[in-house]
Symmetry: C2
Subunit: 137 residues, 2 copies
């Protein structure tokens, strides 16, 4: 049940990314959700922080494509593998997402490789929302 | 079937990590396995490269602990989440592992966050095996 709800949320997320329409993003994120950035050590607190990060990053990524999907046995945690370009640098990444029983996102952690791709993303995100995001630490 | 073999390989891998005895590591890696480092863009080719990277990194990581395990539906791809310290820097990471039907590792990709942890790891790995590893590119 929890698994189906998590899957439904992922389906909605994929649709939002494909259409670049993130207006309903807050509907799939828990108010107390935590965002763990690939760059910064300290997590960002709350739905607004996560929504800001996600809605910015999908405009920073070029050729953004999802690949494999992995789940924990209980279906309440997913890993979404992706590839993209930022400023001419190729990168791979994962979204590690934790869902609650209602299928809402309660934690969203991103990891990026290689170092050149991570640096390019960090630089571009810093320019666009660095100051704003740091208010959520 | 393929799934059970992959699971058996992961079990052996966890035992090797726990005991820091990687003598049998080559038995679970396909000769043509590919290693995608968290730092470098270009992958490293072959079992020897992956074995060298893995046997080095488990001595670089302090407080190395595995957390969640995620699988694709066919059970032939796993994500292992971990945390560790390197040179006083805390880091999180994932191993994205692809198995063949016999449960052998054919691809091993690592991603690390945050940037400070990735840099600390890259520096330490570079010192220990940078030159040796680059022969496998």
């Amino acid at each position: 049940m929890a698994q189906e709800k998590a899957q439904a949320t992922i389906k909605r997320w994929h649709k939002m990314v494909a259409s670049k329409d993130l207006e309903a993003l807050h509907e799939i994120i828990h108010p107390d959700a935590m965002f763990r950035s690939p760059v910064a050590h300290t997590p960002y607190q709350g739905r607004d922080a996560l929504a800001l990060a996600l809605s910015t990053v999908i405009n920073v990524f070029e050729d953004f494509t999802y690949h494999r999907e992995f789940f924990t046995d209980d279906g309440k945690n997913a890993t979404l593998e992706f590839s993209a370009h930022v400023g001419g640098k190729q990168l791979k990444g994962v979204d590690l997402i934790k869902f609650n029983d209602d299928g809402l996102i309660v934690e969203f952690e991103v990891m990026i490789r290689p170092a050149s791709g991570l640096m390019a993303l960090g630089e571009e995100m810093g320019k666009r929302v660095g100051a704003k995001l740091s208010e959520f630490k």
